[in-house]
């Protein structure tokens, strides 16, 4: 009975999407239908809440579609990882959809694509079959291509094309990986692959499953956007419509990351852990350096998404049970604060019509609630107590204790602070500005956020604060969701030592900010900014990354 509910997690947003699309035919009903479509997200929310109990006691619910048992049919699997993945998707999707409902410029088609994307993401999270994973990835991808180009700006179209080429090349290799798996093991169900590999004595003892694993990782890697597969992300996230940026950064790359976790763990690819840890640490540092150099506000945030994903990946690579909890907890927190940041900064961009950090006038008095929410997000990402970034970064510190890659993450943390000092100038108190200034003919300009948008942002800010203050119990619950058992000990988060540890980071961050503001710092920043690679170079990065993943097994 309960297993049957799992299917509705996916079907509800699909039906919601079709409902929203009907609004195109029935013009007068467009808005009610969009609202009805968005409301379909309540179904997965309720189901996931109902199923939290079994998941926390370590059960994994399997639902065989059409009643065909596993190697023949396809099963949906709801275990800790997929529950968590679905939960993040639901929260962020609901926030983004409500935020979009607050602006009348997004109409029926937009909600259709948004909801199909959500359904695809549930598919990625829930499926227990490799080929269905491929299909779900493509469902998400097709909608993302359209949504990035939604506002039909030059940059949006170009970003969409870049992402399309790169992710399709990635998915081709993913298919190649599926071929190798099917050829060697004759099954596509992930749990049966896991069993077959265990019988064979691990991936490394098989003929070419490590090659298959490398291809699968490369394919998912493009969606997850860690170095060297990250190159599409700055453009795609920066030039998409603002709510979509929040969705991509908050949920999509997380869901792909969880798919990566599942594949690596089920294939027993523990030999990849060290590689992933180093990739993660390098990703975090390199991306934050680029972020510091950006002058486009949304590009800056996009680079931070890569950087924070580096944290998540690095601590996953540390491999212990606590490290996995830390990784997931940071993924959740990043989803919350990064979607908050994208929504608030996006509102500022819509309001002023500028994207350049130095051209946006200080908006603190004009949109006070948005500014407050922005600062909640900025303090979270900087790891200042009591916000949630502090909590999960504390867990990461414990999870990566004694690892050689940790110093890189530490440097990243104060550079993050520096770049958010730089960004926060757009929300400092300044002269009040009038609501509409339709001067340059830019239709985006001058729209003051409505009540719905303000409340969404406020709720996200409160969530950031709440998950930070109760970080200890959050981590406890998360551990139970992932591992199905209660943890031995979760380290205390708000110890004096950790609180004091924030101080030097803040000081160094301020120093770094001052350094970047000097003439010399600006020159270097400009040089880094112009280093954005061409598409061909980007594809070479992809092949190098693939090769690294393939070679590391030997």
């Amino acid at each position: 009975m309960t297993e049957g509910l799992v299917v509705w997690v996916m079907l509800a947003p699909l039906l919601g999407a079709v409902t929203a699309l009907l609004g195109k035919l029935l013009r007068p009903l467009q808005r009610p239908l969009s609202i009805l479509g968005t409301a379909s997200l309540a179904v997965p929310a309720v189901i996931l809440t109902l199923l939290l109990g079994p998941v926390m006691s370590g059960e994994s619910l399997r639902y065989a579609l059409g009643g065909w048992p596993e190697p023949y049919g396809i099963s949906l699997v709801l275990d800790g990882i997929s529950w968590f993945s679905c939960a993040i998707t639901t929260v962020i999707a609901a926030a983004v959809a409500l935020f979009s409902l607050g602006r009348r410029r997004y109409e029926a088609g937009y909600f259709f694509f948004l909801l199909i994307m959500v359904a695809g993401m549930y598919g990625v999270a829930l499926t227990g079959d490799l080929f269905t994973l491929f299909v779900s990835f493509e469902v998400v991808a097709v909608t993302v291509y359209v949504l990035i180009a939604w506002e039909e700006t030059d940059t949006g179209l170009a970003a969409s094309y870049k992402y399309l080429i790169l992710s399709t090349v990635g998915i081709l290799f993913f298919l190649f990986g599926i071929f190798l798996v099917y050829r060697d093991l004759g099954v596509l169900s992930i749990s049966l692959i896991s069993r077959a590999l265990a019988e064979a004595g691990g991936v490394r003892n098989t003929r070419f499953m490590h090659l298959a694993l490398a291809f699968l990782c490369g394919g998912i890697g493009v969606r997850t956007a860690f170095i060297p597969f990250h190159t599409w992300l700055p453009e795609a996230h920066a030039y998409a419509p603002h709510p979509i940026s929040a969705m991509l950064s908050g949920a999509m790359i997380k869901v792909s990351f969880f798919a990566l976790v599942r594949v690596v763990l089920e294939f027993g690819g523990t030999y990849l852990f060290e590689l992933l840890m180093w990739i993660g640490a390098v990703t975090a540092l390199a991306a934050v350096l680029s972020a510091l150099a950006q002058s486009d506000v949304k590009r800056l945030l996009a680079y931070h998404s890569i950087s924070q994903l580096g944290y998540v990946l690095a601590v996953f690579g540390a491999g212990s049970a606590l490290a996995l909890t830390a990784s997931f907890s940071h993924a959740l927190n990043h989803a919350l604060f990064k979607s908050l940041l994208f929504l608030t900064v996006g509102a500022a961009v819509s309001f002023t019509g500028h994207r350049n950090i130095h051209r946006i006038p200080p908006l603190g008095r004009t949109m006070p609630l948005f500014s407050a929410a922005f600062f909640a997000g900025a303090l979270s990402i900087s790891g200042i107590p009591p916000f949630n970034g502090f909590a999960s970064k504390g867990l990461i510190t414990t999870g990566m204790e004694g690892s050689a890659a940790y110093p890189l993450l530490w440097v990243t943390s104060f550079l993050t602070i520096a770049s958010f000092i730089k960004l926060s100038r757009i929300f400092l108190p300044g002269p009040r500005r009038a609501g509409t200034t339709p001067s340059s003919g830019n239709s985006n300009q001058g729209s003051v956020p409505g009540i719905l948008q303000t409340s969404v942002v406020t709720v996200l800010a409160i969530l950031c604060l709440g998950t930070g203050m109760f970080g200890g119990s959050m981590a406890h619950g998360l551990y139970r969701i992932i591992h199905g058992t209660a943890p031995d000990a979760i380290p205390r988060l708000f110890s004096a030592k950790k609180l004091l540890g924030v101080l030097p980071a803040v000081l160094l961050g301020t120093a770094a900010f001052v350094g970047v503001s000097t003439q010399w710092g600006r020159q270097i920043a400009g040089r880094i900014r112009r280093m954005a690679p061409e598409l061909r170079t980007v594809l070479l990065f992809f092949f190098v990354g693939l090769l690294v993943f393939a070679v590391v097994a030997y």
């Binding site: 699909l14 699309l21 195109k24 467009q30 579609l65 059409g66 065909w68 190697p71 023949y72 049919g73 396809i74 009348r104 410029r105 109409e107 029926a108 088609g109 259709f112 694509f113 199909i116 359904a119 695809g120 598919g123 499926t127 079959d129 080929f131 269905t132 299909v135 779900s136 493509e138 469902v139 097709v142 909608t143 291509y145 359209v146 180009a149 939604w150 039909e152 190649f176 190798l180 099917y182 050829r183 060697d184 093991l185 004759g186 099954v187 596509l188 077959a196 003929r207 070419f208 090659l211 339709p438 003919g441 239709s443 061909r536 594809l539 070479l540 092949f543 693939l546 090769l547 393939a550």
Partner: protein, 194 residues
């Protein structure tokens, strides 16, 4: 067997022509021959369903699309810069092929592990409706896509539908854009696209 080699060879030639020829129309024609060779290959490989789908989808859809989207007299800028980058790319591709060559060299003899799932489909596929495990379909491929793995097909249909709506959404805005230019600088959007 020889037929397969010949067809594959022709496919390679067609692919190279499609990639390298300057005139876009010739490239489209070359791509069409590649698709045609491939569907004949599928017939030889005992996959009539795939052959038919490919014939319909690949040749019709792709060719019409390319033909329709690209105007007749597009100038193709063909300034090939930096052969180094291309050479590096080729080198990587070769390395990658060699790596997978090592893997293919050790392919298991065909038989056991692969047929685990397939033999079930083949045994059970035709059993009549009432019997346990059967689908009653004479075409086993149809029984796989429509019954055993119906979920993939749902995803496929979703992708298809989304892509159609997506193409319309991206294309229709062309008209909207013209309207917008005509009614100069009116605050646009609100009611949505036409």
């Amino acid at each position: 067997m020889v037929a397969i080699y010949v067809l594959l060879g022709l496919m390679i030639v067609g692919a190279i022509v499609a990639i390298e020829v300057k005139n876009l129309l010739s490239a489209v024609v070359a791509l069409g021959t590649v698709g045609l060779m491939m569907s004949i290959l599928f017939l030889l490989m005992k996959a009539p369903d795939v052959a038919i789908t490919l014939l319909v989808v690949e040749i019709l859809a792709v060719i019409i699309l390319i033909r329709a989207t690209i105007k007749r007299d597009v100038e193709v800028p063909e300034e090939k810069d930096r052969p180094i980058g291309g050479l590096i790319a080729l080198a990587f591709l070769l390395v990658l092929t060699l790596v997978s060559a090592g893997a293919f060299g050790e392919l298991p003899p065909f038989g056991e592990p692969q047929m685990r799932v397939a033999s079930y489909y083949l045994d059970q596929g035709y059993s009549l409706e009432g019997e346990p495990g059967g689908t009653g379909a004479a075409n086993v491929v149809a029984s796989v896509i429509l019954d055993y793995r119906a979920y993939d097909t749902l995803g496929e249909a979703t992708v298809l539908f989304t892509a159609v709506v997506g193409v319309l959404a991206v294309m229709r805005k062309v008209g909207r854009k013209k309207d917008r230019l005509a009614t100069a600088k009116e605050p646009t959007e609100e009611g949505g696209s036409a």
